[in-house]
């Protein structure tokens, strides 16, 4: 890697290093931070200067590291004349600003933060201008927005700082995003993001049909950054930043980023009407508007801010004219403006610092107090106004002559020079006002501080800049001819026009216009100064009195408000609409393919395969009719007759069991049956805690109609959904067996391998504990999770007050006991259903044995761990029903959560046991043995797994039921802590 490459890297990296280091300093270490920043900035500056030879002749110096070839991105640094010019401004003025800021900032400020951010910004800006890759440039671009945001907000306790920062960030990053999009499109057209490749692809870009969108997006980016109309309004508010920031970011460098981009892409984009009209119009408007508004400012920084806007507009206009000579003028003015405007900001800062105010109406006659500063300010202002012998004059004159040179053959030929002169006149007005009001006139009264000269070091940076202003103004050719030449040549190459840098070109029309502007401006000020200084009525007459800040805030708020509106229309937080949408979408999705078929001309093809089994006996039909009718009743009764609805629901469940039996699925029937029982018990337990359903109270007719309409709608949707399900079910059932009975179809495989491979006759059970044991493991996990959740939730559950104190029946029994002489309260409850309860107690062992039986035979006959587990659970429930929670828990202590844990462990470890034999998880082994009563049983490791299932099911089911049951016996206001972890 050559020494120059190292320099190039250092040039960009050093500021970031400095920034990182200054974050390590103590918050009050002002001088240390300044020195640190100074060292790194000067280092960067030195690197820049040292690199000039590589670009002096308009050639390009590149350094690239491959990074992301797949995205066409590589880390590439690219230095040429124009980017060198910008780098010089950034580092040079940067160094001066650092020195200035050391004295400007107060010792109480957390200065290291300031310098850290300042250097970070410097680095980002350098990254932007020396980047050889458009995306990388955007990268730096966005970073500058970010750090500008943080710097403007440096004094964030001030409302203006906060708002200014927010506004700047929103506007510039809006532009930034547009720019990114535009650049991506541009890169897409060219096929590369490398700047050289893009610059070489001019014709292709202009030809592409994506050219205009790309150009527009890029322009939005550039305009927003460089404060061009209509994005100009953020800049004045950025003035809430500390003055060094205003001098650096918001006059010399960052606001020039957009200009840089326009210059950079000028060769490929400028030769189009969109560019010509768009850019020059925006520039012209900004130029006039800014200058005019600047006249009426009363804050020094306000004047400078609008003047900056106006000068940026001037440059933009020049670039918009799309002639090489105009470009030269533009580049030249970039340089000049940076120097004189930065020095002016510094002067304004000094005045603010030494007098305590920036209000031009309070200030006057300061020249006596601070002659040096006054002189500096006057010279710099002269440049701003375009007075001969300072640099501003030269570029201003170039500008005027370019406006004269335009020959588009339209009325603009005349209009443009006129407006340009007018704008220049405005510039003269605000410049003269600036100087006259601040430095001349009577001695100032009631200033917060007694004005005096600042320390010499604070003045030095301004002095140096003003020196440049003068030297360039008097000896342009000698002083910076070389610099301008290399910069321009790097952009225009062979197109570079002939131009002369001289103070005196003879009595050219441009000079005339220039003088006209000066004279006109001065007279205008003399005439209007009273109005300007005294009129309480602020602001430009007959110009909109809109406060951009409020408008902007309203716009942002409006955005949020409209977003809320959109959410209201296209979103909801309620359940019912969501269910409706879900149903409809699903229905649509399910039927869409059939519609497509129909559209494709296949007709309403329902795949009715050859399959259609004969209807064996009406019983099957009866079962389904029973199920369907029960379901309909459940739907009808659910609102007002919950108990009845529950019964009908159970009816449907029963019908399902029967259907399963019919459809040769005994296991399903069994499981469905036991689950049915438990579910019903659960629901019954829950029923007690629901409020008594009361018919809706008096409602207006419209409400009634609405409700009815809703019902009709839902009825239709439900019917449609049902029909859809039926259609799909039918379609699924009648699939062509040719497809279902493939040679290797799963069905035959399982049936054939159930015994041979897994030692079980009950293929379904074998599937559950062996082939698809992984499913079962997940399934019991779900059960366990739910049980734990239910328990955790019910621990916090507070029964609603009105439902406490027992059911009607309990109350009645209690009353009966009270009246009866020989009875204690509760006796009746204790004797209630005595026989049935005894029976239930007896049932326990019976059910236990039955469960064991189910479990053991599970592998060969219908049954298995789950069914057995639920059976055991039912046995427990019966005990609870019979004896009540207290009775049971006095006798046997159940720790369901442990059962759950144990079940899961056994299942998992059984599965993992296979690892010992180097087999995959859940691989099962089996052995046939003769057992008494049961005969030949395959003792498979799968049965151990099934045992885990059993334990978990018992634990989970019991836990849920107990947790619910306990609600009835828990004290009304018992605190959750009082209950132990286990019920």
């Amino acid at each position: 890697m050559s020494i120059d490459s190292v320099l190039l890297i250092a040039l960009t990296v050093l500021p970031f290093v400095g920034s990182a280091l200054s974050s390590t300093l103590h918050t009050r270490a002002r001088t240390a931070a300044a020195i640190l920043a100074g060292v790194f900035t000067v280092g960067s500056l030195a690197a820049t200067i040292a690199l000039y030879p590589r670009v002096a002749d308009g050639s390009v110096f590149k350094f690239a590291l491959p990074w992301l070839p797949s995205m066409g991105l590589d880390i590439s640094l690219r230095l040429d004349g124009v980017s060198w010019l910008f780098a010089l401004l950034i580092t040079g003025i940067g160094a001066l600003v650092v020195l200035y800021a050391r004295y400007y900032m107060s010792p109480q400020d957390p200065v290291p933060r300031f310098f850290g951010l300042l250097q970070a910004f410097m680095g980002s800006m350098l990254l932007l201008v020396v980047s050889g890759n458009l995306i990388q440039a955007v990268f730096g671009w966005e970073l500058t927005s970010l750090f500008s945001f943080l710097l403007i907000g440096y004094w964030y306790h001030n409302a203006n700082a906060r708002d200014g920062a927010r506004m700047a960030l929103v506007v510039t990053s809006l532009g930034g995003f547009c720019l990114l999009l535009g650049v991506i499109i541009l890169g897409g057209i060219v096929g590369s993001f490398d700047i050289d490749v893009v610059l070489a692809a001019g014709p292709r870009i202009l030809a592409s049909d994506r050219f205009v969108p790309a150009l527009v997006l890029i322009l939005i980016g550039a305009f927003s950054k460089s404060a061009q109309f209509p994005f100009h309004f953020w800049l004045p508010h950025a003035m809430a930043a500390p003055t060094p920031v205003s001098a650096y970011l918001h006059s010399a460098t960052m606001v020039k980023a957009g200009i840089y981009l326009l210059i950079r892409l000028w060769p490929v984009l400028s030769q189009s009407d969109v560019w010509y009209y768009g850019v020059s119009t925006a520039g012209l408007i900004t130029f006039l508007l800014g200058a005019f508004v600047a006249i009426f400012q009363n804050d020094l920084k306000g004047i400078l801010a609008y003047s900056t806007i106006s000068h940026l507009g001037l440059i933009t206009l020049l670039l918009g004219l799309a002639t090489p000579a105009a470009l030269v003028a533009g580049v030249f003015h970039v340089l000049n403006h940076a120097t004189f405007k930065a020095s002016l900001f510094m002067a304004a800062g000094i005045i603010d610092h030494e007098t305590g105010t920036r209000d031009v109406r309070k200030l006057s006659g300061l020249f006596r107090a601070m002659p040096y500063t006054g002189t500096l300010a006057i010279i710099a202002t002269a440049a701003m106004a375009g007075v001969p012998l300072v640099n501003g004059f030269l570029s201003k004159e170039m500008f005027l002559s370019e406006t004269l040179a335009v020959h588009s053959g339209t009325f603009t030929d005349l209009l443009l020079p006129a407006l340009a002169t007018l704008g220049s006149a405005f510039a003269v007005v605000y410049s003269v006002r600036f100087i006259h009001q601040v430095f001349f006139g009577p001695k100032p009264t009631d200033l917060p501080k007694e004005p005096h000269e600042p320390v010499v070091w604070m003045r030095l940076p301004a002095e140096l800049l003003v020196l440049v202003v003068l030297v360039v103004g008097i000896l342009p050719g000698r002083s910076i001819g070389w610099l301008l030449e290399s910069a321009v040549r790097s952009v225009l190459g062979p197109l570079t026009p002939h131009y002369s840098l001289a103070v005196w070109h003879g009595l050219t029309p441009a000079l005339m216009l220039s003088l006209l502007a000066l004279a006109g401006g001065t007279t205008a000020y003399v005439v209007f100064r009273r109005y300007l200084s005294d009129s309480p009525e602020q602001g430009p007459p007959w110009m909109g009195r809109i406060r951009a800040r409020r408008v902007f805030e309203l716009a942002v708020d409006g955005l949020s408000a409209s977003a809320r509106g959109v959410l209201r229309v296209f979103g909801t937080a309620k359940l019912q609409p969501q269910m409706l949408v879900l149903t409809l979408v699903a229905l649509g999705a399910g039927l869409w393919p059939f519609v497509l078929e129909a559209v494709r001309g296949a007709g309403w093809h329902l795949p009715i395969g050859p399959v259609s089994s004969p209807l064996e006996g009406p019983a099957y039909v009866v079962i389904w009719i029973m199920g369907a009718v029960c379901a309909l009743f459940a739907g009808y009764l659910a609102k007002f007759h919950r108990f009845a609805a529950l019964i009908t629901l159970a009816g449907t469940g029963l019908a399902m069991c029967l259907a399963f039996v019919w459809l040769s699925a005994p296991d399903l029937a069994l499981t469905q049956l036991v689950v049915e029982i438990v579910t019903t018990v659960l629901l019954l337990l829950g029923l007690r805690w629901l409020p008594r359903p009361e018919p809706a109270e008096e409602r207006t007719l419209s409400q009634v109609l609405k409700a009815r309409a809703r019902r009709v709608r839902d009825l239709i949707v439900a019917a449609a959904a049902g029909a859809g399900v039926a259609i799909l079910a039918y379609a699924g059932m009648t699939i062509d067996p040719a497809n279902r009975l493939r040679a290797d179809s799963l069905r035959s495989f399982f049936v054939e391998n159930a015994y041979a491979g897994a030692g079980g006759r009950n293929v379904v059970n074998v599937l559950l504990v062996d082939f698809r044991a992984f499913d079962t493991m997940g399934e019991i996990t779900v059960l366990g999770i739910v049980a734990v959740t239910v328990f955790a939730l019910l621990r916090r559950f507070r029964p609603p007050r009105e439902l406490l104190g027992g059911t009607k029946q309990q109350l009645a029994q209690a009353k009966f006991d009270e009246v009866a002489a020989d009875r204690e309260v509760g006796d009746t409850a204790a004797e209630f259903l005595y026989v049935a309860r005894t029976a239930m107690h007896v049932m326990f062992p019976v059910l236990a044995v039955f469960a064991a039986y189910l479990f053991m035979r599970g592998h060969d006959e219908p049954g298995g761990g789950f069914a057995a587990g639920v059976t055991v659970a039912i046995a427990f429930i019966l005990q609870y029903m019979a004896g009540g929670a207290r009775w049971v828990e006095e006798r046997l202590r159940v720790l369901p959560v442990r059962w759950i844990g144990g079940g899961l462990l056994i299942a998992a470890l059984t599965g993992a046991g296979a690892w010992l034999f180097g087999r995959p998880f859940l691989k099962s082994y089996y052995e046939h043995v003769e057992l008494p009563l049961l005969g030949d049983v395959a003792l498979a490791s799968a049965m151990l797994f099934d045992l885990g299932v059993l334990l978990l099911v018992v634990g989970a089911t019991v836990l849920m039921l107990i947790a619910l049951a306990h609600q009835s016996i828990r004290a009304p206001r018992s605190s959750p802590e009082r209950k132990a972890d286990e019920p």
Binding site: S106, G153, H157, L181, R358, I546, A589, V788, L905
Partner: protein, 549 residues
């Protein structure tokens, strides 16, 4: 890889296998949390410390495991490991399949889980029982869903992770959570039903449950059976889209996520990604059997649904001024972006979207965690809204400002705690808004570039690109508003008390965000390989179906 695993499975002496878990790595992400969670059920709430330690250790182990898996597949020629459960080969048994994508998702999940868990144990874990077990079981469900190659097994794992998420959402109970839970559970139960309908139809038409095998058979179907298959897939996709939070099936998300406790919401961020992941997986597999025309059938819906989601999410972000809500909608934006990218079918867009997914998942998770810490800062009243719009000075109001500006010219030193918090906030914001220097910028670039250069119609491309860019701007505006309000308070110095156990996970997540930007090159290379691999599923299918035959 798959093959030599199979040969290893052909056994060997017990002794040599006792120590060697390496062939069983693919199943560990499921078994490990299960065992530990089960053990935890034996420890009651008084043993909180022990459980916390166990859980953290387990999750760290999972990070390790997923890292090893990721290395294996990325270094491997086939780029896939197939694990046959109960030693039955696909399509008869259930197989776990680890490829680059699955490994990546495992990685993200375990990292996010570790961070959220550590954050939780420093406070939230104790508000109601069994938190630690539920958390591990949620991780189990997620891992299973990412790993399984069997459609019905996927359903089971969806239920596992949903059940756990119900438990965790309700964790801490309370009016708002239970209300949110009521809705969240109902919607998800509905979508689970659809899942079963879908699976049923798929089985009816193909007679198999293995995802790869399904597609293979589907290619042979003729006549009406294809239609049935399509119907099944369409209904299934509706379920997935609901889980992914794609508009208009996404309304439950902004209700549920902010209601949960911060560490839980942080963990939930990954759940929407499961839906998107499956959609990506299915479309990828379908692209292997072009004759079924499934991709053409699904893609438009994904594309437009994704776009709608991105826009909806952006609107939500703009409308919210509560960090949890902003983060919830940001989750939608991510999911929408990924789904839309899948819809475009453009490999560059997909790898870009995946890159975005990694960063935004970590950042959103961090945002949920930070939201709690920020809540501890005192809130500041919004600026007076009564100022007149029309006022004498054009675009400038220093008249009002000059006076109060004087004497204000001294800045405030930010206390360390707040500074860290602010740094964290900015980092997360940069990732989500897609600003440099963090990964979001690169990701947005990759997506937009891929979309604009891709094969989708000009209009769709523009709309999607615009939506992605706009979502960035919306996020930026919302987060900036929030950040200024939280960190830039006039006058008083604000300090946030942050416990180290809380700072640690947040730091971890954001450090990873930064690392993601620094090591963009290797990551994106991996992702490009991933999307390239997805674009050509033949290898995948061969490995899944032929391992151990």
């Amino acid at each position: 890889m798959g093959v030599d695993l199979a040969t290893q499975q052909l056994g060997g002496p017990i002794a040599s296998q006792l120590v060697d878990l390496s062939p069983h790595l693919p199943v560990l992400p499921v078994v490990l949390p299960l065992v530990v969670a089960a053990l935890m059920l034996f420890l009651d709430e008084r043993r909180g410390i022990l459980k916390a330690g166990l859980g953290a250790a387990t999750l760290s182990a999972l990070v390790l495991v997923s890292f090893v898996l990721l290395n294996t597949v990325s270094g491997d020629a086939d780029g896939v490991i197939v694990y046959r459960l109960a030693d039955w080969a696909a399509p008869f048994g259930i197989v776990l399949v680890v490829d680059r994508l699955a490994a990546l998702m495992l990685m993200i999940t375990s990292i996010l889980a570790l961070a959220s868990f550590v954050f939780a144990v420093s406070g939230w874990a104790i508000v109601s029982p069994r938190f630690h077990s539920l958390f591990l079981l949620l991780v189990l469900g997620l891992n299973g869903a990412f790993l399984t190659g069997d459609m019905f097994n996927l359903y089971v794992f969806f239920e596992v992770l949903l059940a756990a998420s119900y438990g965790l959402l309700l964790h801490g109970s309370g009016r708002q959570r239970v209300r949110a839970g009521l809705q969240y559970i109902a919607v998800n139960l509905g979508s689970s039903m659809l899942f079963l309908f879908g699976v049923g139809l798929l089985y009816a038409s193909t007679g198999t449950l293995n995802m790869v095998d399904m597609m293979r058979v589907a290619a042979e179907l003729q006549g009406g059976d294809v239609t049935v298959f399509r119907a099944g897939l369409a209904i299934l996709s509706v379920a997935f889209l609901t889980k992914a939070g794609v508009w208009p099936l996404s309304f439950w998300l902004p209700v549920a996520y902010p209601a949960a406790t911060p560490p839980v919401s942080a963990m939930f961020v990954i759940m929407t990604k499961v839906g998107a992941y499956i959609l990506l997986r299915v479309t990828a597999l379908a692209s292997g059997v072009p004759e079924t025309g499934l991709v053409e059938f699904l893609s438009p819906w994904l594309l437009y649904g994704g776009i709608a989601t991105v826009i909806f999410g952006s609107m939500g972000v703009l409308a919210s001024n509560q960090l949890q809500r902003i983060a919830a909608y940001a989750t939608l934006i991510t999911a929408g972006t990924l789904v839309a990218a899948v819809g475009t079918g453009d490999a560059r867009a997909i790898s870009g979207a995946l890159y975005y997914l990694i960063g935004s998942t970590l950042a959103t998770g961090a945002a949920f965690l930070i939201s709690e810490l920020i809540a501890r800062l005192r809130t500041v009243e919004s600026p007076a809204a009564s100022e007149p719009v029309v006022e004498p000075v054009f675009g400038d109001d220093y008249e009002t400002s000059l006076e109060d500006f004087e004497g204000y010219e001294v800045g405030i030193a930010i206390p360390a705690g707040t500074a860290m918090l602010g740094g964290a906030f900015v980092t997360g914001a940069l990732v989500l808004a897609g600003l440099p220097p963090l990964s979001g910028f690169l990701a947005k670039f990759a997506i937009v570039r891929g979309v604009l250069a891709g094969t989708v119609s000009e209009v769709a491309a523009w709309v999607l690109a615009g939506a992605v860019i706009f979502s960035g701007l919306a996020t930026l505006i919302a987060l900036m508003r929030k950040g200024v309000e939280a960190f830039w308070r006039p006058g008083e110095e604000t300090t946030a008390e942050v416990r180290s156990l809380e700072a640690l996970p947040v730091g971890l997540l954001l450090a990873l965000c930064v690392a993601l930007a620094i090591f963009a090159a290797p990551v994106i290379t991996y992702l490009d390989a991933t999307s390239a691999y997805l674009a050509n599923p033949v290898e995948y299918a061969r490995n899944v179906l032929e391992t151990g035959r």
